[in-house]
Symmetry: C2
Subunit: 240 residues, 2 copies
């Protein structure tokens, strides 16, 4: 999910101010081009829009809700956890991790930014998804219902949108199972087309580690596992 | 860009009606879940929203506009072509190709669908991009200015958004240079983080063919080529 600075990793000059909880600045009107305006993190950034987007809504199909309920049952004994669907990665990352990331990558606050998967927040139209994590199995399962704004060929999901969901499932697995947040290399093989509005079940697993490298694999299938939509592998890197 | 049905390629039962230019049906209200409603293609689908999104607008930075003007100069003698920025892939594909694709992939019309890269059509916020193609060099150059809604880490582009732009540049190269539209396998290695609002220059080339397979490579760099953001390779498949 998160891009990595392998080569010229810059220590971030805004790191301190970024982590200070200062009062928010009013957003600038930006109808015409101007350089990005880094702002300091205010407590409102952590608190604003704390809606959980990974709870069933009226746009979820009965198949999607059925799979959700099955996975929720696995959370009862604590072996699996449902991850909340956030508005920005800032809400997802532990504050200590954010400080470590800021040493490696020039992160900054932009007032109107939001997580790519939240690019539309109207129910049904974009990325409807929920991710469950099992710590003991070092695994995540993602249920994903792509909306009509994720189109490639008419009525079919864009490869980049499925790739985004795969990357995000990899990220959740790498972060919660192995403390890795930086995507190094990702390979995706597309096997069958995904029709918009259908349900995709993604399952990603940590397959090994080597130094700071974390190796993962992922399969995206239909709801009953009879169609393989895509398979993927990735190398993530742990934070220093 | 476009997903492929490698395994159980289905001949599409809607193919004929899909290609008939019938009068449009009114969109259905779909506040709650219901199955996708395939509709027939009307002439309005080809004509509606013919705005060209790949022309400079007020949100493009001076660097983006400068690179655009340089590439536009190369179009004067016809060696390079600027590709129009469309609203749906339907507007991009030749009608005869759409019929061939429909034999391999169950494409269908969904009333409120649109190309993933057009998920937001407000200037600056999403994918601002333009692609140029050289037929003789079997190459595309894409200029890309990612907006604040494409965020992964705070202020940094989401790997899935950069992957979407890479996939799209691959697609344009594969389609216009080698008549291939189906992404088979794509590998991306992320090298440096891309800051939202900065300019990315992607260059993709056909490196070889083997039967219906088309091999491609791509590099994503900053505007003056001093930072490598990502490198990628892909295999696309030609239509039968």
């Amino acid at each position: 999910m998160l891009q990595r600075g392998l080569g010229g990793l810059v220590s971030h000059r805004h790191a301190k101010s970024l982590l200070r909880a200062l009062a928010g600045q009013p957003p600038l009107p930006r109808s015409a081009w101007m350089p990005a305006q880094p702002i300091t993190v205010s407590s409102s950034h952590f608190q604003s829009n704390i809606k959980d987007y990974s709870i069933p809504n009226a746009s979820w199909s009965p198949v999607m809700v059925g799979l959700y309920n099955e996975l929720m049952e696995k959370t009862v004994d604590g072996s699996w956890t449902r991850l909340p669907g956030c508005w920005r990665s800032l809400q997802l990352l532990k504050e200590a991790d954010l400080a470590r990331i800021a040493k490696a990558v020039p992160i900054q606050m932009i007032e109107d930014a939001r997580l790519f998967l939240r690019i539309t927040d109207t129910e049904r139209l974009g990325f409807e998804y929920v991710i469950f994590h099992s710590d003991s199995e070092k695994k995540c399962v993602c249920l994903f219902q792509p909306g009509p704004l994720l189109e490639g060929l008419p009525g079919i999901i864009h490869g980049g949108a499925l790739g985004t969901m795969i990357d995000t499932t990899f990220f959740a697995t790498a972060y919660y199972s192995a403390n890795a947040v930086f995507t190094g290399t990702m390979t995706i093989t597309f096997r069958s087309p995904v029709i918009l509005g259908s349900v995709v079940r993604l399952e990603a697993t940590v397959t090994g580690t080597e130094g700071r490298k974390v190796f993962l694999s992922c399969e995206a299938q239909n709801s009953d596992g009879t169609i393989l939509f895509a398979e993927a592998s990735a190398i993530f890197f742990q934070m220093k």
